[in-house]
């Protein structure tokens, strides 16, 4: 709860305390000795092993690798969507291993945002309602106002009452970005955010993502196989065959 308040504090623009804050805040995601195995029938398939890395608050971070390298699995594990076999993940100073499904849900709702490759808007809700869902889950009474404002920020103020099927792919992803930021997450996971979009639209989405990220002081974790996109982040984690092959830290952009 305390962490959340501080990040809001940051968001409100009191950036003078940033460095001090980062000192005790330090790592927002901490992954140690991670291993994940899937069993299909009698076959054991190890998807991830010996994964160790940290992400600092407000960093931008890319996980790259060829198809089947375990990128998306790693993202799912880090975001608390699934549990690992061995190892330890600490997200926003909370060790995930001890949490129940409902506690994980609460953690995601309060501190995590998601952007998916195929947008994953709820088809039965309007753009506005989609963006408001995370806030409404928190019981926020101003959910619709905040959502309207965010949709304005992503340039969709005219389309807030449209259903996803009435929006183009780029517009849908913009709604998804607005939704991802609506709960003021500390960390945002994006899974191939441009994967289903043409280059020009993809670039616009990426810009939007980074701009909002900077404005709100969020940590951004992107899974992608688009190296050009990865180049825009401060850290690049390369995966191959379920192992880390390289961790490139790029201090300045």
């Amino acid at each position: 709860m305390c962490v959340l308040k501080l990040s809001e504090f940051l968001y409100l623009g009191c950036l003078t305390n940033t460095k001090l804050f980062l000192l005790f805040m330090s790592k927002i995601l901490n992954v140690r000795n991670l291993k994940k195995t899937y069993s299909s029938g009698s076959n054991q398939l190890t998807v991830l092993q010996e994964i160790n890395f940290d992400i600092e608050a407000r960093e931008t971070f890319a996980i790259v690798g060829p198809s089947g390298s375990g990128k998306t699995t790693l993202l799912g594990l880090c975001a608390g969507l699934d549990s690992c076999d061995t190892g330890e993940i600490t997200l926003c100073n909370v060790p995930l291993s001890g949490l129940s499904e409902d506690e994980l849900a609460k953690l995601r709702n309060q501190k995590v945002g998601f952007v998916f490759q195929n947008f994953q808007l709820l088809p039965t809700l309007t753009a506005l309602e989609n963006v408001a869902v995370p806030l409404e889950l928190q019981g926020d009474k101003n959910a619709l106002e905040v959502a309207t404002e965010l949709l304005g920020k992503v340039g969709l103020q005219d389309r807030i009452h449209h259903y996803p099927s009435q929006l183009s792919g780029g517009e849908q992803q913009r709604v998804a970005v607005a939704r991802a930021f609506s709960n003021n997450p500390e960390i945002l996971f994006a899974d191939e955010p441009t994967g289903n979009l043409d280059t020009a639209t993809g670039e616009k989405i990426v810009k939007l993502l980074f701009d909002l990220n900077k404005e709100r002081g969020t940590t951004l974790v992107i899974v992608t196989h688009d190296l050009e996109l990865a180049q825009q982040t401060q850290n690049i984690l390369k995966l191959k065959g379920g192992r880390i092959v390289e961790h490139e830290k790029r201090m300045s952009l």
Binding site: R108, F114, Q120
Partner: protein, 850 residues
């Protein structure tokens, strides 16, 4: 803190409701179809329930008019002195009646007719009306008769013609349309004729063996009838008389309709069950389609409970709406019942709306849809948020304990509902088992058909036919449930049809060939010769000649019946103590009898002490008798000591004279007795001719023509069948709704298939054919499954229940199956136009609103 918690709790609920509403709004068309699939079932249940409730209420309200008096004392003897004194102490009767069946002849026509002669004195009925045409006929004042309106119409009689009853001829003053306490069906064997009381003796029709009733009617609105029954009931019992109050009359009548109502209620419930099975499968698919959304919601932080509740709320809303609409429709529907049942209903019918019935409708709607959706709803708990990232997540398919619990809850609820309707746990259990068995067998037969078609796929057929069959097995198909729904409806209707066949076949078998079909009752000993002469003159053979001696029980196993009456712990059924037994004597058993215990003795010497008799199994059971027990009979003043030498099983179902007590030859030959003679007449004309001769010479003899009785049974059956057909139709209707739901559910998939086919060059005509074949097969599969199952069940009934050969009629095959196939094709085609006509582009753009 607590306050905060409470507030967040309430906002959480508000959000859930909002989500359920938003999500449901977008799928409203489909959800409305879910609603529709229970509406008909609920309408049927509510209609029956409400109708029964109304009937009960109307009977209670009109209970005095049903009897025409507050109470009556009746006996089949002239009242003994104690009874007369008792009646005086009650203030005396206001009206009295002597009634008995007799043949009547009419002026201007040769026809004769068995009627119920009712000689009435006084102002009876005190409540209700003697409805006559012309109205207000003062028959007592004018010394004239009122004759049943139907008889008047059948025989072409008019007021002013005359009726001859025994030695009395009276002018007919008016036709009798109704009299309190009787209705058309039950009085059509012997329709009523009302005459002034004092003519009864002059008819000279009251003789030995005549089944005469003496009724004394009381007008006494302030008496506590229950107390009266307590105080004088036993006294009257001892004197072979009975107290009958207007309350007991309406209760008795009510029970008669109750059983029929219960049966209809269960038929209606089956329609509802079908709708619910439809909902279950639709919700299953609905939830399957929502998997992605649910996973995303979980990613965004909704917990399992919240997701479950969003969809549960939708289902509750569906159930509530379905319950509301169904209840409304049911209340409307019941208005038609009086027209369907017509003169089967004994009271004038005013429809009221009962809150309990409305409550039951709503409750059924909500509970049934929630119970049947519980399984797919619980499935949402196992959807992992990970599925938002990976489209093909490995969903866990294990059946959790809660899903087993849901199935158990469904069975329990069906049982509870059956228990509520039937008020007997054993019957309710049998209903549940029967339903389970029927569904299982139907499902087994249907899946067998499906497997067979898959295995022996008609590869030689042309493309549209093959494609049509294949469409039945597309992924997420609802073929099995559709076959089940259509099959159950067909099963109900055709079983009904076959059962009617069976009943009529059995009755006809009894009336056939050499079986007697003309029964002459009340033939006095000295009239036998004359009757035989009349029959011989008409070239008819006497098939049977049965003597009847009436007697009452004096003592059972050495204990006087009077003593047993006072013993409240006695296990002996009371009817035995007061019953006037009609006993025959002969030296052999007949075809409908079979010895169960002991030994049959057919001939004894008159002076050899205790008389060996044979009793029927039901008498043995009700009187707690075994072989060797003694019974003392009072044979019109003479006490006869007998011993049970054998117990017989009797097939009462046969149209034949059967007896509970059978004496051997050699004892009763000289007792006062009368005879029942029977003969076989080849046709209607012969029957009419011989009846005329009999009435002219021997007016006290009653003649029953079994062919008329058969015609009556047939008309009664077809009337009831109408109502059951009506109910079964609701199952078919529900089946069609489920079909509609299935069509809507698979719409997008089918549009895609058809567009693909069109892109590959299929003509509109070919696609049309494919769709037609698909629904044709579906209807055929369902209809055929239902008919096959009903053939089996009818065969089982034929063997176990009716003991008659069963030759199925062709109607279900020739009419029902093609009718259902056409209906299914019609529904299928009319709802597929969108699919057939949709432009290929819409699929490519994925913009179809499902």
């Amino acid at each position: 803190m607590k306050d905060l918690h409470a507030r967040s709790h309430s906002t959480a609920w508000r959000w859930l409701l909002k989500m359920a509403w938003r999500d449901g709004k977008a799928s409203s068309k489909r959800l409305l179809l879910f609603v529709a699939s229970i509406v008909f079932g609920i309408a049927a249940v509510v209609a029956i329930q409400s109708f029964g409730e109304n009937l009960r209420q109307n009977m209670a309200l009109q209970s005095k008019a049903l009897m025409g008096a507050d109470y009556k004392i009746d006996s089949n003897h002239p009242p003994k002195e104690t009874v007369s004194k008792l009646m005086d102490s009650l203030g005396g009767y206001q009206s009295r009646e002597i009634s008995f069946p007799s043949m009547a002849a009419f002026s201007g026509t040769e026809a004769t007719k068995l009627v119920q002669v009712r000689g009435i004195e006084g102002e009876f009925p005190f409540y209700g009306m003697l409805e006559t045409n012309p109205p207000n006929a003062a028959y007592q004042l004018k010394n004239a008769a009122l004759v049943d309106a139907t008889v008047m119409m059948q025989l072409g009689l008019n007021p002013g013609d005359s009726i001859r009853l025994g030695k009395v001829t009276l002018p007919i003053l008016a036709s009798l349309k109704s009299i309190p306490g009787s209705n058309a069906v039950f009085s059509s064997i012997a329709p009523p004729v009302i005459i002034p009381y004092h003519f009864i003796e002059k008819t000279a029709l009251v003789q030995t063996g005549s089944r005469v009733n003496y009724d004394f009617y009381f007008l006494d609105p302030n008496t506590d009838l229950e107390k009266l029954d307590e105080s004088i009931g036993k006294v009257l019992d001892a004197e072979d008389a009975d107290l009958d109050t207007h309350l007991s009359t309406s209760q008795r009548l009510g029970r008669r309709y109750d059983n029929f109502g219960k049966f209809l209620n269960l038929v209606a419930f089956i329609a509802l069950l079908l709708g619910c099975v439809g909902i279950a499968s639709s919700v299953q698919i609905y939830i399957k389609e929502k998997v992605q959304s649910i996973a995303v919601l979980k990613c965004l932080g909704a917990d399992n409970r919240q997701v479950f509740l969003i969809y549960l709320l939708q289902v509750i809303a569906i159930g509530f709406l379905g319950g509301l609409l169904g209840t409304f429709a049911g209340v409307l529907l019941q208005q038609f019942f009086p027209y369907l049942l017509g003169d089967l209903i004994p009271v004038s019918f005013e429809v009221a709306v009962f809150p309990t019935v409305l409550f039951v409708g709503l409750l059924l709607g909500v509970v049934m849809s929630v119970l049947f959706s519980l399984n797919p709803l619980l499935g949402t708990l196992h959807i992992s948020p990970l599925q938002a990232l990976r489209v093909e997540g490995n969903q866990t398919k294990r059946k959790s304990k809660s899903q087993l619990f849901a199935s158990a809850a469904i069975i329990l609820f069906i049982f509870l509902f059956a228990l509520w309707v039937l008020r007997n746990p054993l019957y309710a259990l049998s209903f549940v088992l029967g339903i389970a068995l029927t569904f299982l067998i139907l499902a087994a037969v249907a899946s067998l058909f499906i497997k067979l078609i898959k295995k022996y796929f008609p590869v030689g057929w042309h493309f549209p036919a093959r494609q049509g069959v294949k469409n039945l097995f597309r992924p997420q198909n609802q073929t099995l449930i559709l076959v089940l729904a259509i099959g159950i409806g067909t099963f109900l209707i055709s079983t009904l049809y076959f059962t009617k066949d069976l009943l009529l076949a059995q009755a006809e078998m009894d009336a056939q060939a050499n079986n007697p079909n003309l029964i002459l009752l009340d033939v006095q000993s000295d009239q036998r010769q004359a009757v035989k002469q009349i029959l011989t003159n008409a070239e008819l053979d006497l098939t049977d000649e049965v003597p009847i001696v009436t007697m009452r029980l004096h003592a059972i196993k050495g204990i006087l019946t009077n003593t047993i009456r006072k013993d409240s712990t006695s296990r002996i059924n009371r009817w035995i103590l007061n019953h006037e037994f009609r006993v025959t004597y002969r030296d052999s058993l007949i075809a409908s009898e079979e010895i169960q215990q002991g030994k049959w003795i057919g001939q004894v010497d008159q002076n050899k002490g205790i008389i060996p008799i044979s009793v029927s199994d039901n008498l043995a059971r009700d009187a707690d008798l075994t072989v060797g027990d003694t019974l003392t009979f009072n044979v019109q003043g003479v006490l006869m000591k007998t011993q049970v030498s054998s117990i017989r099983a009797v097939d009462w179902g046969r149209v034949q004279l059967n007896f509970t007590v059978l004496f051997p030859k050699g004892i009763l030959e000289n007792a006062p007795q009368f005879w029942v003679l029977s003969t076989h007449v080849p046709n209607e004309a012969a029957s009419a001719a011989v009846q005329q001769d009999l009435v002219r010479d021997l007016p006290n003899i009653s003649v029953i023509d079994l062919r008329q009785v058969l015609a009556l049974v047939e008309s009664l059956l077809s009337k009831i069948a109408w109502l059951i057909n009506f109910m079964a139709f609701f199952s078919i209707l529900t089946g069609l709704i489920v079909l509609l739901g299935a069509l809507k559910t698979s719409k997008y998939q089918r549009i895609k298939e058809n567009v693909l086919l069109r892109t590959l060059g299929a003509k509109g005509n070919q696609i049309f054919k494919i769709v037609m074949f698909e629904y044709g097969f579906l209807g055929l599969l369902g209809g055929f499954t239902g008919v096959i199952l009903s053939l089996i069940s009818s065969q089982v009934m034929a063997i176990w229940l009716f003991d008659a050969p069963f030759i199925p009629s062709w109607v279900p095959f020739l009419v029902l199956i093609p009718g259902i196939v056409l209906l299914v094709i019609f529904v299928g085609l009319t709802n597929s136009f969108a699919v057939i006509k949709s432009p290929p582009l819409s699929v490519l753009r994925k913009e179809v609103n499902v």
